[in-house]
Symmetry: C2
Subunit: 334 residues, 2 copies
Amino acid sequence: MGITTKDLAQLCGVSRTTVHRALSGEGRIHPDTRERILRVAREQDYRPDLLARGLVKGKTSTIGVVVLDVKSEYFAEKISIIGAEANRRGYCMNIMLHGNDKEMERNQLLRLASYRMDGIILSSVNEGEEYKRFLESLDLPVVTVDNKVADGLPFVSIDEKEAMKEAVSRAWNKGYERLVFACPALADGPNINFYVHLQRLEGFQEAVKEHGELQEDYLLDWTYLERVEELAKQEKRTAFLCTADEFALDIMKKLYGCGLEPPEDYGITGFDNIDTLEYVSPRLVTISNSVNAVAQTAVNLLFDLIEKKAAGEEADPGELTRILPYEFIPGETL
Amino acid sequence: MGITTKDLAQLCGVSRTTVHRALSGEGRIHPDTRERILRVAREQDYRPDLLARGLVKGKTSTIGVVVLDVKSEYFAEKISIIGAEANRRGYCMNIMLHGNDKEMERNQLLRLASYRMDGIILSSVNEGEEYKRFLESLDLPVVTVDNKVADGLPFVSIDEKEAMKEAVSRAWNKGYERLVFACPALADGPNINFYVHLQRLEGFQEAVKEHGELQEDYLLDWTYLERVEELAKQEKRTAFLCTADEFALDIMKKLYGCGLEPPEDYGITGFDNIDTLEYVSPRLVTISNSVNAVAQTAVNLLFDLIEKKAAGEEADPGELTRILPYEFIPGETL
DNA sequence: ATGAAAGCGCTAACAG
DNA sequence: CTGTTAGCGCTTTCAT
C-alpha cells in the first residue's frame, strides 16, 4: 500500500496517536500540530486502510445488496434507490449477484458477512426454515425483498395476491369469458423460490373462483408461445394475465405475427410496469409493483435494524414485515 | 463477530498456527488433528474474518466495478459478464455507482482502493491528465471502458467513429439527402466525459464531408423532440442518426404521434442495440457496440494486469488499449 | 496536549 | 508435526 499513520507520525515527529487525533478530528490536539499533520498527510497522499479500520471497529459502514442480476430494470431501479439512501447516510453499497444459483447466494452472503457488512438487503432464491437459520447465523440485519424466505424475517413487498385479483376482476368487468394465466417462470422450479409468482397464481385462482362463469387456462412453461395463437383464436373472449411484462410483450409480439392485436382480438395484462412499455404500442395494461417504495422502505427498515442492533436493542417483530400497496396501470390492451 | 481461530485453538487445545494449518490446508499437520479442528470449526460455524485476512495478505481477491448506474442494459450486461469471469477465477466483484457525479466517482474509487481491491474496471465520467494521475496514484490496475480518460491508460472500446461513418454511408447509399445527428446527451457537458458521443459526432462529421451533397443538421440538447417533426417534414429525404437507441425510440414515438413512420416518411438509426428493440416495431436499424466482447476483453485485461503486478512485472504499453469491432444491425427504419 | 501499549483476527517466519 | 513470535494498519484505553 501507500503511506500509513506510522509513516506520518515519523514524518511529523509525533506519535501515531497524535496523527490519529489529527486525522479523525477527535480528542484534544494543538491546532498547529493538527494542521501540520493534515498538510503532510495531504502531501503524502495518505489514505486510511479501510480493512484495518473495519477490523478494529468491527463495522465497515457498508451495506450489501444481493440480487439475481442487474439486467432487469426491476433490480436496477431498486439498487439505485438503495445506493442513494446509503450514500445519504454516509454508507457504502456493495452489490453482489447470485444469478439464481442457491449455493452462490449462500456464498455471496457469507462473503459479505465475513467482510463485516453492517447489513444486507436480499432478493433470495432460497427459502424455508433451514435457510432462515442460515441467515440468522450471519448475525447481521438482513432485509428480504421480492421473495419471502420464511415467516419472521424482515420482508418488504407489495400485495401480489390482491393485485392479481384486481386484474381478474377488471377482465371480468370488461366482459372477458376466458382468462389465461401466463407464467412460464414457474417451470423453472422447484429449485427457485417462486414466492412472487405463486402469490400471483393464488390470487388468480381465488379470484376466478369468485366469478363462477369465468373459464381459466394456464401457460406454465417455456413453450407457452406455441399455444397462444390457438388460445387467442377461440370463440370465447380471451385475456392473458401475465406475471411479468416480458411475457406479455412476447405474447403480443407472437400474436402480432399471426395478425392478432389487443384489445380487438384478445386482452392482455402484464406485471411490473417496466420502462420498456413506454415504447410499446398499444400501451400494455399492467400492475406497478412500486419498486421505488419497496426499495425505499427496505433500506429504511435495514437502517432501523442496524441502529437497533448497534444500540443492543431487539427489533419489534411486528415491524418486520411491510406490505405496500400496488398500483393498477391502465392501458389499451384490456 | 463470531468465533475466531483463537477460540478454535483453545477449544482444540492447540495453537492458533495449527488451527490455521488445518483451515488453510497448507503446511504439515497430523491428519487427526486436522480433522478434529475442522470438525470443531464446522460445529462452531467458524467463518474467517476477511478484513483481517485482507489486511495481512495485502489483497482481497476482489475486483471493483465502477459505473454510472445499473439501469441501462448496457452496464447490466457488462457487469454480468465481468462478475461471471471474476467468479470463475475465484474472485469477487464489487459494484459501485457514481451516477454521473465526478466527485462521487473519485470517492468510490478511493474507497475501493482503500479496501484493497485487487483491480478496478471503470466507466468514468472524468477525463484528462490530472485524473489519469489520480487513477495512477491508486496504485492498482484500473481498466477503463466506454469513456477514454487519457492516453496510456488501459482502455477497451469499439471503434465508435468508424461505426458512425458506416451509418452515414449506408444512409447515403439509401438515397437520404439530409442527415440529422441526434445526441441530446452532449448538452449535459462539459462536466461529463462524452468521449463516446464525441467520437460518434466526429465520425458523423468526417463521413458527411466525404459525401459532398449530403446536408447535415444537429439535435444537441434535450429539447430535441420539439424540432423533429419540422425536420422530418422537409422536402429532402431525411434520416436521423442517433447516438443511442433511446433517443431514436423517443423520436419514433414522437413522430408516430404526428402520423409519420419510418422508413416511408423518414429514416432513423440508433446505437447500442438494446434489448428493448426486440419489442419495438418497426425494427430499428442500429449498431451493436459488442458489450459482451468489450466486457470480456476488459476483465481479461484486468486480470492480466493484476497478475503482472503480483509478479512485479511492468505492463506492456502496447497491449493496454484494445479497440474491438462493432456490428451493424440491419432493420426496417433506414 | 501528547504518548505508550494493547488489541482487532489473521498469516508468516522461524524455531523446536 | 507443532508452537512462539511478530506484524498487517488502525483505534482505544490509560498514563503522563
